[in-house]
């Protein structure tokens, strides 16, 4: 027992970057795919292709969540991001009459300043993070993010924020409907259903309107 306790602190030193586990290798490969897809998303000149590469990046992130044993969040990611957000973005591209094919003015004039800021952000954050968490290891155990565990902590400890968030989502959707409604539809007088039943011969115009 004392031998085990003595060997315990030595065990983390045995883990290093040079002997990655299988999970780490898969995480690295999927991470490279995610980064490549994200780079294509922000640099491509074909607007619809950018949305489709965003699907690849977000789907790869769902796989990363699965590798980090957060199963429920991975499936929520697939449902909400891949299912609704990307579809909304595609609808937004179509409704703003985005050109199909290459558009040469996809990037604005401050592209090089943006590149400098992005590189500075990447350098600072990666240096900081690597320096801070060089010796930290995650013990991946099964079941920490399953649907059962998620439901337990969400509805035991986080009920009030959950309900407040549902009210916020409702307000946001009502606001989106109000914003995207055309004004001329609101001003048009609606045909009252009582008039149609009042013996008036059904005209072509009222029939079309109703």
């Amino acid at each position: 027992m004392s031998l085990l306790a003595a060997a315990g602190p030595l065990e983390p030193a045995a883990r290093s970057f040079l002997s990655p586990t299988g999970v780490e290798i898969v995480f690295l490969l999927v991470g490279v795919a995610v980064l490549g897809a994200a780079l294509v998303t922000v640099t491509t000149r074909q607007l619809v292709h950018a949305a489709l590469w965003l699907v690849v990046a977000l789907g790869g992130l769902a796989v990363e969540f699965l590798l980090l044993t957060a199963e429920f969040i991975a499936w929520v990611q697939v449902l909400i991001y891949l299912g609704s957000v990307v579809v909304l973005v595609l609808f937004g591209l179509m409704l703003t009459k985005a050109p199909i094919g290459r558009s040469p003015d996809a990037d604005s004039g401050n592209r090089w300043a943006a590149l400098a800021v992005g590189l500075a952000t990447a350098g600072t954050l990666v240096t900081l993070v690597v320096d801070a968490f060089r010796t930290s290891w995650i013990d991946l155990g099964a079941g920490a993010g399953s649907a059962k565990a998620t439901g337990e902590y969400l509805f035991r400890h986080w009920v009030l924020p959950f309900e407040a968030l549902s009210v916020l989502l409702l307000a946001a959707l009502v606001g989106a409907i109000v914003l995207s409604r055309r004004d001329d539809e609101g001003k048009k007088p609606r045909p009252r259903p009582g008039k149609l039943r009042a013996g008036k011969p059904v005209g072509t115009s009222s029939g079309k309107e109703s």
């Binding site: 995610v34 401050n110 592209r111």
Partner: protein, 123 residues
């Protein structure tokens, strides 16, 4: 798993999102870059939740809340973009300079070109 892997991936993804927000001209593409940045934050939250393993699972709960907020944000953002496109006939961010400083020369030229393009679009 080494904690540096998800942390570095999230940092790089966030930097790519920053570049996209600053460099893109179409508003919908800017919103897509904002989604990339939000996902980088989500990855950080999940990784640190798995690392810390607190009883409340604050990281995963906050990730779910962030995903919901991102859905609300993209709905409202696209509604605003559609409204702007309907009134100004353009969805390019650097042409929307109606609230810009008129003292400088650059924004005034931009405003003229935007008026010209909107006139062309109407005609």
């Amino acid at each position: 798993m080494h904690l540096a892997y998800p942390a570095v991936l999230a940092a790089l993804l966030f930097a790519i999102g920053v570049y996209g927000v600053l460099a893109r001209r179409n508003t919908v593409l800017v919103l897509m870059s904002v989604e990339l940045m939000l996902n980088a934050v989500n990855l950080n939250l999940v990784a640190f939740d798995v690392w810390l393993r607190d009883a409340l699972h604050g990281g995963q709960a906050l990730t779910l809340f962030t995903i919901t907020l991102a859905a609300a944000e993209i709905g409202l953002g696209l509604a605003i973009v559609l409204l702007v496109f309907r009134t100004r006939r353009t969805a390019d961010i650097d042409r929307l300079t109606a609230l810009g400083d008129p003292a400088e020369d650059g924004p005034a030229e931009d405003d003229e070109t935007s008026d010209a393009t909107s006139a062309e679009a109407v005609a």
